[in-house]
């Protein structure tokens, strides 16, 4: 056995960012440890990152390119694989135009720079990402409201933490990780938790507001009402830096506290207490999670919460919600070459005339892609390239996603495993894990850091995603726009810092020089230079310039007619720390911890249906039926059922891999009426359902 070499790198089992020391012996990673010098994770590492050796060396992992012969998968060379993709894409471009090719990715995985560069140079405006309902939607809504994404400044010592629909220690891996939150909390600072489910943080909180799922925007309006009525806002900030204050105040008055109590189920005294606490303790930071985005209130809810940060004087304040200054690296946006997508192609972006905010951040909502594939309107999508995404598990109305991807004339997939989505492809391109890549990581996040993710090993014929886009680009006539090697491209990214990739690797990370209160000199980067609580952009688009709460399209309030058959609110998409969306179900260490999909039911509710703890049950919505294993939890409202998302069964070897057994998105809706009107955010969270025990043994097994 050879010596152990230690490689300092950065995890990406989720969005990534945690520092890792990889132990390499004889060309194989034998162990990973947290990097104590990491400014993001401070030596800790989660179960997913710690299990990376079981991911990288998994027996089912695909280590070479393959083609789908119709009778099964067959190994081919990289040349044949990339030539096939290029040839198919060229044929579609000649017949239909580049817009008939859809390029897609899932959650942020540090290759959007390369994916977008490839798509823009190809000339397709149709890039499909998770961004319509996750993070990018937040960026879009804050861009038009205050010019940038405000991030919790944990290290600035927030004295009050308003944790809104987020559990950063379990799952929310944007920017900073749960460790920095925990350090801030442990200094003895106040904690307010907004969560329909009593979790660890709700237990720790000074105040816990258990709201009806999907009513976040109304609750935030309640906060604003108290703060405005009791004059707890920062008058100077409002006078100088808010656009449309009077109109905004009028809108807020539409949400008197008794009405908010009725909508949200949260007692008005508690709302008052929480609003006072958040508004009067300085500095205070508001840390939000994706449930605020994954409904039709996406843009408005983000805007209302931004309003809370702004009028309490916590925007760009130390210990509040800061606009972090990035290091001088070339931005993802510049690398992506968005400006080189011809204007006439931008105009062809699917749904771009309706979902204008999505179009502004250069993406499409899946619904318009599925429509274009299935109905060929407004024009057909014929071919696709999907990277690190499993839409048949993770997108609303999974049945439609499956049908659409199945109908594409040609589909190529970049992934580690043959997922249910990859099984629908014609060409499989094997991606390298984070242990197999060199990259300037975290450049897309807004926490002021970039991190050196450096290659520890190479496995099989796998290539890092960035290289795949680069080599495919070269095959598609983009030779002059790419580099010889992945590292040459990194030198270009790093150029403004004066560092080469080799030098950056040695440093490990770069941090921007943080300056607070930048608006005092420069104003906010919005058309009026102010925080646009009254949005001039939305007004120009013919939309309501003021934010509001819209009732969920399928709730006890909006659809009382459904209550006889579907009496419960399904709070879908519960995240767990061992999995990341639909990933990791094949990792033995992680699956042992969570062998089955869990649906949480209040003990009283379970009793009514004769359901016992641990029993398999059916969950039905007006659109379908799936099964998960019941877990009784008295920390949820008896009217609410909470179910995990992302489940498929890699151990089922037929090509469907059980994608339709426990897939909560067979129950969700993606009709245009159910989506955010400007962002196209799908409602992955709140709908009506019923539950019933699986009666016989066959039903009760997978």
């Amino acid at each position: 056995m050879g010596e152990v070499k230690k490689v300092r790198t950065v995890c990406r089992n989720c969005h990534g960012g945690c520092g890792v020391i990889a132990h390499v012996r004889d060309g194989k990673v034998v162990k990973v440890e947290g990097d104590p010098e990491s400014p993001i994770s401070h030596g800790t590492l989660c179960s997913k990152g710690l299990a990376v050796t079981q991911l990288a060396y998994h027996p089912d992992r695909i280590l070479y390119p393959m083609k789908n012969t119709g009778k099964g998968w067959e190994r081919i060379t990289w040349d044949e694989a990339l030539d096939t993709v290029a040839q198919k894409f060229r044929a579609v471009m000649n017949e239909y135009g580049p817009e008939s090719i859809v390029i897609g990715q899932g959650t942020g995985r540090d290759y959007e720079s390369h994916l977008y560069r490839f798509a823009n140079l190809l000339g397709t405006p149709n890039v499909l990402t998770a961004g319509h309902m996750c993070y990018v939607s937040r960026i879009g809504a804050t861009l038009i409201t205050c010019g940038n994404l405000p991030i919790s400044d944990w290290n600035g010592d927030p004295r009050c933490i308003l944790m809104w629909a987020c559990n950063p220690q379990w799952t929310n891996p944007d920017e900073h990780k749960g460790v920095d939150f925990w350090r801030a909390y442990k200094k003895g600072n106040k904690l307010i938790v907004i969560d329909p489910r009593k979790g660890f943080l709700a237990k720790k909180a000074d105040l816990w507001l258990q709201l009806r799922p999907g009513t976040d925007a109304a609750l935030a309006m309640g906060f604003l009402n108290v703060i405005i009525e009791e004059e707890l806002y920062d008058e100077e900030f409002v006078d100088k830096h808010v656009n449309g204050w009077d109109a905004f105040v009028d809108r807020v008055r539409n949400y008197p506290i008794d009405k908010v109590e009725e909508i949200t189920w949260v007692k008005q005294d508690l709302i008052r207490k929480a609003a006072r606490m958040y508004a009067t303790i300085k500095p205070a930071c508001l840390n939000w999670g994706v449930p605020t985005e994954q409904t039709l209130n996406c843009t408005d809810c983000t805007r209302i919460l931004t309003g809370l940060m702004a009028i309490t004087g916590n925007l760009d304040a130390p210990g509040g919600n800061a606009f972090f200054v990035p290091p001088q690296v070339r931005t993802v946006s510049e690398f992506s070459r968005h400006r080189d997508l011809p204007k006439e192609q931008v105009k062809k972006r699917l749904g771009g005339d309706v979902y204008k905010l999505a179009s502004r951040v250069a993406l499409i909502t899946p619904k318009v892609a599925w429509d274009a594939i299935l109905t060929e309107k407004p024009y057909p999508l014929k071919a696709g390239l999907l990277c690190g995404t499993n839409p048949v598990s993770t997108r609303a109305n999974a049945a439609e996603a499956y049908a659409a991807l199945n109908k594409l004339d040609f589909l190529a997939v970049i992934d580690f495993f043959l997922t249910p989505t990859a099984e629908l492809a014609d060409i499989f391109l094997p991606a390298g894990t984070w242990l197999e890549q060199n990259h300037v990581a975290d450049n897309w996040k807004r926490h002021g850091y970039v991190l050196a993710r450096q290659k520890a090993v190479e496995i099989g014929e796998c290539r890092q995603d960035h290289e795949i886009f680069m080599e495919l680009g070269k095959k598609m006539g983009q030779e002059k726009e790419w580099w010889d090697t992945v590292e040459d491209a990194l030198d270009y990214l790093l150029e403004p810092t004066g560092l080469t990739w080799e030098q950056f690797k040695e440093k490990g990370y770069l941090k921007g020089e943080q300056v607070y209160y930048k608006y005092k000199e420069k104003g906010f980067s919005t058309p009026t230079g102010k925080v646009e609580l009254y949005s001039s952009v939305l007004e120009k688009w013919g939309r309501d310039p003021l934010p509001k709460y819209t009732e969920m399209p399928e709730s006890p309030v909006s659809r009382p007619d459904l209550l006889a058959d579907y009496p419960y609110i399904l709070n879908a998409g519960l995240r767990t720390p061992t999995f990341f969306h639909s990933a990791n179900r094949m990792i033995p260490w992680l699956r042992e911890i969570r062998p089955d999909p869990i649906v949480e039911i209040h003990p009283e509710t379970a009793k009514k249906h004769g359901i016992v703890d641990g029993q398999w049950i059916f969950i039905t919505s007006p659109r379908g039926r799936v099964k998960e294993r019941a877990k009784l939890n008295d920390g949820i409202d008896p009217r609410v059922v909470v179910a995990e998302h992302g489940w498929w069964y890699p151990e089922i070897k037929d090509p469907g891999h059980g994608w339709d057994i426990s897939n909560i998105n067979l129950l969700t809706d993606n009709s245009h009426e159910s989506m955010d009107p400007v962002m196209g955010a799908t409602n992955l969270r709140v709908l009506l359902c019923n539950i019933a025990p699986c009666e016989d043994e066959q039903e009760g097994s997978r």
Binding site: K31, V32, E33, G34, G43, T44, L45, C46, S47, L50, A51, T53, Q169, W170, K177, G178, V179, W182, R197, K198, G199, F200, L201, A202, K203, P577, T578, P588, W589, L590, E592, I593, E600, N633, G635
Partner: protein, 151 residues
């Protein structure tokens, strides 16, 4: 030699299971034995682990004297001597004893003795995001816990 201990401040365990995977990796374990594990009953999470008890029932229960304590106070199993009778599993009040189905012998937390020899802390204690796992000199640890956590 000074005695060492591993302690969990259970109130701060938030059920991320990182300690479990760190342990599996360190000991090269597959599915089966879980030398540390976290039981979930939201909002409570209960880490189950070996306390290396001062009066260890597992040691007392072992008919072949396969379980012993080393000079650091760590309770260990001599694999050669274990006959797989599971008496220790019955005896342990914490449910910390595990069983290796392949070797058909008992298994338990060894406090990462290999790491301790290199002056490294047990693997689980390093990854915990809430720092609810403490390792160190037993006497000092008790003083620290008393001061930091209970006052």
């Amino acid at each position: 030699m000074k005695k060492v201990s591993l302690m969990f401040f259970k109130k701060d365990c938030m059920g991320c299971h990182a300690c479990e995977v760190a342990c599996k990796q360190e000991h090269g374990l597959g599915i089966g034995p879980r030398l540390v594990r976290v039981i979930e009953k939201a909002p409570d999470y209960l880490p189950v682990h070996c306390h290396h008890c001062t009066k260890a029932p597992c040691i007392a229960s072992c008919p072949t004297e396969a379980i012993f304590r080393n000079e650091l106070g760590v309770v260990l199993i001599d694999e050669e001597r274990c006959i797989g009778c599971k008496s220790c599993m019955e005896a342990c009040p914490f449910g910390a004893m595990q069983f290796d189905d392949e070797k058909e012998i008992a298994m338990k937390c060894d406090l990462c003795v290999g790491r301790l020899a290199n002056d490294e802390a047990p693997a689980c204690s390093l990854v915990c995001p809430t720092q609810c796992i403490f390792y160190g000199d037993t006497r000092k640890l008790l003083e620290k816990l008393d001061k930091d956590l209970f006052q």
